[in-house]
């Protein structure tokens, strides 16, 4: 395995009880190592703590115990070295598409001319040329999420965190977005941590699928995906893909049943 860039060390999270209720264990002590250029998908049923784990890596939530190291340094809060794409549309509605993509660069104090080049290149990469001066409201959900990806990448983060970014999109758009993201990853070799509950999505994108168990969440399986790159959407119908899917479906099914209280 390539050198470790992100190390999750015994990270757990307990949410305090609401109105005198019992505290909720969202995440059991969890260990995970992410190598440079890995594309890891975290797969699990809803409420398994996978988003909590990602938010802790982003620095938006604090672990109750344990720590997360990025390049050997402990994470204490959010920062530009970890780009995040959320499931909800989080483009700044008062900024145009180009201004949204430039947001992080502006926060760094990068001069305007330099910003313009980077923005142009990422606008191109996510296929949004011609929409630079549109406001987010004028764009479809898929286009907004592409902008959000460009906005996160423009910052040149060490690792890209995605929290079910395509969850609100229709099936066709989701497929296209997966290919777009995978294409960018294949070309630029970013390190990616991608949370999803969609099995096909998890396999198609990943170099490793991490399966999480139902609440309290913990890592149940860590499965390498040896499918060759570049991947084409037709790969989803190959026997290798299908057998992986069958295996993961089985893993997830047990967890989903437990989460729903079915035995």
């Amino acid at each position: 395995m390539s050198s470790t860039i992100l190390q999750i060390d015994n990270v757990s999270r307990v949410f305090p009880g609401v109105r005198g209720g019992a505290p909720v264990r969202a995440l059991e002590p969890t260990n995970l190592q992410v190598g440079k250029n890995d594309f890891i998908t975290i797969l699990g049923p809803s409420g398994c703590g996978k988003s909590t784990l990602l938010r802790i890596v982003a620095g938006l939530d604090r672990p109750t115990d344990g720590r997360v190291l990025l390049n050997g340094r402990e994470i204490r809060g959010p920062g530009a070295d970890r780009g995040m794409v959320f499931q909800s549309y989080t483009l700044f509605p008062w900024l145009t598409i180009a201004e949204n993509i430039a947001y992080g660069l502006r926060e760094k104090g990068m001069p305007k001319e330099q910003r313009r080049d980077i923005v142009a290149s990422y606008t191109e990469k996510v296929g949004l040329r011609g929409f630079e001066n549109h406001y987010p409201k004028q764009l479809s959900g898929g286009m907004q999420q592409r902008t959000a990806i460009a906005r996160a990448l423009a910052n040149d983060p060490e690792i890209l965190l995605l929290d079910e970014p395509f969850g609100a999109l229709d099936n066709q758009t989701r497929g296209l977005m997966q290919e777009l993201l995978l294409g960018i990853w294949e070309r630029e070799r970013k390190t990616v941590l991608f949370v999803t509950h969609d099995i096909e999505e998890a396999i198609f994108l990943a170099s490793r699928v991490v399966v999480m168990s139902a609440r309290p969440g913990r890592i149940k399986a860590d499965i390498p995906v040896e499918l060759p790159h570049p991947r084409h959407y037709t790969m989803k119908t190959t026997p290798e893909f299908s057998s992986l899917k069958a295996q993961l479906t089985e893993e997830i099914r047990v967890e989903a049943m437990q989460a729903e209280g079915v035995h």
Partner: protein, 258 residues
């Protein structure tokens, strides 16, 4: 019968809006010109217009209007300059909110008009006193409403800004403020409307100019036509300022309509 929530065309909207004004004036004319109400207590529309014309041409009412507008705008701008930053601070920083919110909530219920006698004692009957009445009437309202608006900023936008490298200050400057700017403008528009009621109250007592002063003067002469004209002028100015505010907001915040 129209369906609930079903929109109407722009033409219908304007026609309906105007027709109520027409109906209102017609009822007024019928009651007064028809002799159902004593002229001593309520002037008819025609007398009102004649009185208004006299006020404007012979008694320099235009300068009264000017003075009143100046007081409202002056007091309101001072209040906004104090209240908007405070409101943003309260919305953004919870400790600041905990510190000021109880007092501001209390002060908000102090009626500005009740301060008039006290303010005359403190500031005399000059312009300062008028400005202070409007200031007291508006400032606490603006603070609280702005604080609530800023406090309700979408959390995911704030989180996105942090993951893009914003500092705490950057989040306030480049997320909380721009995200709420249209709402703050809307709050100012609302409170400006209330400021108009305070200025008249301030002018009713211890004043020698302004629309309110004219109204109280006319009362001594039982000139109900003039009084009504004064009240209507206030309404019209309010309508104009509202319209201007909305037009400016549309220009300033195109992304809202995009």
């Amino acid at each position: 019968m129209p369906r609930p929530l079903e929109p109407v065309s722009q033409g219908t909207r304007v026609t309906l809006g105007i027709s109520f004004f027409v109906l209102f004036v017609a009822a007024w004319a019928f009651a007064t010109l028809g002799g159902f109400v004593s002229r001593t207590f309520l002037a008819d529309p025609i007398t009102m217009l004649q009185d208004g014309w006299l006020l404007l041409t012979r008694f320099g009412f235009l300068s009264d209007i000017g003075v009143t507008v100046w007081r409202v705008v002056g007091g309101f701008i001072i209040a906004a300059m104090v209240a908007v930053p405070l409101g943003i601070m309260m919305g953004a920083y919870k400790s600041f909110e905990a510190f000021l919110e109880p007092f501001v909530s209390f002060a908000r219920y102090l009626p500005a008009s009740a301060f008039v006698p006290l303010l005359i004692l403190w500031a005399g009957i000059g312009e300062m006193q008028k400005l202070l009445v409007i200031f007291i009437g508006s400032v606490f309202q603006i603070i609280l409403m702005v604080a609530v608006a800023v406090g309700n900023t979408r959390r995911d936008l704030v989180e996105a800004a942090y993951t893009l490298g914003s500092s705490d200050q950057g989040v306030v400057k480049r997320v909380l403020i721009p995200a709420n700017a249209p709402e703050i403008a809307e709050i100012l528009r609302l409170v400006l409307g209330w400021a108009w009621t305070y200025v008249i109250v301030a002018e009713l007592i211890g004043s020698s100019s302004g629309i309110g002063h004219m109204i109280i003067d006319s009362q001594a002469l039982l000139a109900t036509g003039q009084m009504i004209f004064g009240i209507i002028v206030i309404g019209i100015i309010g309508l104009i300022s509202d319209f201007l505010f909305k037009a400016v907001n549309r220009k300033l915040f195109p992304w809202r309509l995009a």
